[in-house]
């Protein structure tokens, strides 16, 4: 059966070139990068080379890259590290209502520890107004954390302007760029953030590796304690194959971005136009804001998103609704309610995200399959039947 993977925001396949780069570091060059001997030295060199590649993708210096176990650790390190190292009896953090759980939950934990947190609301497109961030700042504000691209909507936040505000007030700025890396041009100096999180598996690298950009001179408390702390200060034996794969993935991402972004955007636009034409009442969540080229969050009124995702999976089309947890359970999305969707609409929204291996044929297949599935679900929904009668 034909299949189409349209869930690249969840994860991406490992690029064959990345896999090839990683393979020697499992059983041939298996040293511990912290060891003195030649086995270790080879791995150290490979890790440092990867660090250069990741730094280059971000316009950073290699010394500013900390390898982590992924985006979640990067965000935790940034938030707890920055707040912990900040001076002052009372501390305050500013963030938004649409952050990924890997930022939202650490902020909630901070609140339990006595740190005040302001969650700045967003507009109907999912964008935050820099003025509202400025208004939320207090004398005791020690950190602002605003994501660069939203995982569910693709909406891009005005991080550059927020950085100017933060700089004026001398407040640290962290941005979760996990969903932006490889999709838009990234430059830490232009963005102006002191802390930036990325993840390998969202850019065709392996799972279980990420990085935190820490601008030189930024004070962070450690998150983890242990031995073998390398150059970047994070303890624990380095995940050499993973880091090598991340480096290769970053290198490729930088190389292909200029031609991939418009190609994917064109496919996404064709996908959206096709569905808007074929299915009555479809809406695009966050369509009027600047967004990543690959993400399409669609609202199908009178369709239960969970059933649509399952129905499409049975036709081998992968997409997602809400944030899935490890058992596959789907929770209502806080992002969709934050942009003002009523519960029924939030439960009728599905995210499609395209990527490097999405083809014209995939889109054609999706455009063939989705309309009849939506129609079947609507025909089983009494409210839809009533709505049709009324119209």
């Amino acid at each position: 059966m034909r299949r189409a993977y349209l869930d690249y925001n969840a994860t991406t396949p490992v690029d064959p070139e990345v896999l090839e780069a990683m393979l020697p570091y499992f059983s041939e060059e298996y040293g511990n990068a912290s060891s003195i001997h030649s086995f270790g030295q080879k791995c150290r060199a490979a890790v440092e080379e990867a660090r250069e590649s990741v730094a280059k993708l971000l316009g950073a210096r290699a010394s500013e890259i900390v390898f982590t176990s992924g985006g979640t650790e990067s965000n935790n390190q940034a938030i707890f590290g920055a707040v912990g190292a900040a001076f002052g009896e009372r501390k305050h953090v500013v963030t938004t209502t649409v952050e990924h759980a890997a930022v939202k939950t650490p902020c909630e934990e901070l609140e339990r520890c006595g740190v005040a947190v302001t969650y700045v609301p967003v507009n109907r497109e999912g964008g935050v107004c820099p003025g509202k961030i400025a208004d939320a700042i207090r004398p005791e504000t020690v950190l602002i954390s605003v994501m660069l691209a939203n995982n569910e909507l693709g909406t891009l936040q005005p991080v550059e302007r927020i950085a100017q505000i933060a700089a004026e007030k001398k407040i640290l700025l962290h941005t979760d760029a996990v969903q932006a890396a490889g999709k838009i041009q990234l430059n830490v100096n232009r963005l102006g953030a002191q802390l930036l999180s990325i993840s390998a598996h969202k850019i065709y690298g392996p799972k279980g590796v990420g990085a935190l950009y820490v601008r030189d001179g930024t004070r962070l408390d450690p998150l983890l304690f242990g031995g073998h702390a390398g150059r970047d200060g994070r303890p624990g034996t380095e995940n050499v194959p993973g880091i090598v794969g991340f480096g290769k993935a970053a290198e490729i991402a930088g190389r292909v971005l200029a031609e991939e972004a418009p190609r994917i955007a064109a496919l996404r636009d064709r996908f959206e136009r096709g569905l808007l034409a074929a299915i009555p009442l479809v809406r695009i969540n966050g369509c009027c804001a600047p967004r990543t080229p690959n993400t399409s969050n669609l609202l199908f009124p009178h369709v239960e998103a969970e059933a649509l995702v399952i129905g499409l999976d049975l036709k081998r089309i992968a997409c997602s609704a809400g944030a899935a947890c490890s058992s596959g359970r789907v929770e209502p999305s806080h992002v969709l309610t934050a942009i003002g969707l009523a519960m029924p609409d939030a439960h009728a929204s599905v995210r499609f995200s395209l990527g490097r291996y999405t083809t014209d044929d995939d889109i054609a297949y999706a455009l063939d399959v989705i309309p009849p599935v939506v129609q079947r679900l609507r025909s089983l929904n009494p409210q839809w039947r009533d709505a049709v009668v009324v119209r």
Binding site: E306, A307, G311, D313, L314, G328, R329
Partner: protein, 373 residues
């Protein structure tokens, strides 16, 4: 992975992660059916942390090891599997009524509520949405279509020890038309055997005896924690413990701590064995009496669901089960105009408990049932 092929509608299997429903999936796969596994996420075990058994992980995602077990079985069988979140509905139609029922001095049957309002309602609907016209579950009971009457009938399982028809009396004709019970003809031993033969990862899994959302079996603690979580307190907490003749023997700390027929843990000492004979919400009293006072010759039942026929006008003879572990007693059942029925037992029955279900049988056939008033 077996995927629904065009022309042949897949069967959805409600997979709890236990051996019974896992075996149902295996049986249907064996028969060459196209099968889709569905697991219901019903209750977040992270809630009411004080009820968590010692050593349980505090922050596990859905904490439903059972959902993971179901997924392992589905992977083993090569079938698609999805977890559906029915937490809100479960709380609204099962958990809250469970708590309210105890507070009102009744002893509810949450599994029957769950079958009626969750398993065979939204789950059947979701199954249809994904293209499965029928739902199979691991219940021990049988369904058959009666050509003459044009109605579906519910029957006891062949294995009487495992029979779960008591919990299924609320099924509508529409629900039964879309339901299959592949274990109805089997006994537990054969099911285990089939599970082993299919090498299911849960073949040796122990059976759960308790209500799924109160795994500890401590209902009192659950009810009090649930109310505390919602910032509510047990209404009229304290009250009197009296005998049927009005003698005050002591005080109690809430009707929800008692069940009709209970003898132990009453907190009063008198020279003779006394039982709870009723719980009076109005006066907030626990009423104790002797064994013979616990016996009732009749009871009223509300919200009766009639299965092989519509509401009968004439009284009918039946055997009636007043709790799951009750040997059904001979009785005459008369339908009432209010949608209920009056049951007159040939011999008075012990501990007829409000809130429990009364199920009317003709042999193995379930005629109907409702909730004891």
């Amino acid at each position: 992975m077996t995927l629904p092929t065009d022309g042949r509608a897949p069967i959805a299997v409600a997979m709890s992660g236990g051996v019974d429903s896992s075996t149902v999936a295996a049986i249907l796969c064996e028969r060459g059916e196209s099968v889709v596994g569905l697991t219901m996420q019903l209750w977040d075990q992270r809630r009411l942390p004080e009820l968590r058994p010692m050593g349980a992980a505090p922050q596990r995602c859905c904490s439903l090891d059972d959902a993971y077990d179901a997924r392992r079985v589905a992977q083993h069988l090569g079938i698609p599997h999805y977890v559906l979140n029915y937490e809100d509905r479960f709380e609204e139609t099962v958990v809250r009524p469970f708590v309210e029922s105890y507070l009102a001095g009744s002893t509810p049957v949450p599994c029957a509520q769950c079958n009626t309002y969750v398993k065979f309602d939204p789950l059947v609907a979701t199954a249809r949405k994904i293209g499965a016209e029928r739902l199979a579950t691991g219940h021990y009971a049988r369904i058959r279509f009666n050509e003459a009457s044009g109605r579906y009938e519910l029957l006891r399982a062949m294995d009487e020890a495992k029979d779960q028809s008591y919990f299924l009396y609320g099924l509508t004709q529409e629900q039964m038309s879309r339901t299959i019970f592949p274990l109805g003809e089997l006994d537990k031993q054969s099911v285990r055997e089939l599970a082993r033969r299919a090498a299911l990862p849960v073949a040796e899994k122990a059976e759960s005896q308790e209500i799924c959302f109160v795994p500890s079996g401590h209902y009192v603690q659950f009810i009090e924690s649930y109310l505390a979580e919602r910032g509510e307190s047990v209404p009229d907490e304290e009250g009197e413990i009296v005998t049927t003749s009005g003698e005050v023997l002591g005080r109690h700390k809430g009707l929800h701590r008692f069940t009709v027929g209970q003898r132990k843990g009453l907190g009063v000492a008198v020279g003779r064995p006394l039982y709870v004979v009723s719980l009076d919400r109005g006066s907030n009293r626990v009423i104790l009496g002797e064994d013979q006072e616990l016996r009732s010759a009749a009871c009223d039942v509300r919200d009766v669901n009639w299965i092989p026929f519509a509401c009968p006008e004439q009284p009918l003879r039946a055997t009636v089960k007043i709790r799951n572990r009750h040997a059904a007693a001979n009785a005459t059942v008369q339908a009432l105009a209010n949608g209920g029925a009056r049951v007159r037992f040939d011999e008075p029955q012990r501990a007829v408990t409000p809130g429990q279900a009364a199920i009317f049988y003709d042999g193995d056939v379930v005629l109907g049932g409702g909730s004891i008033v």
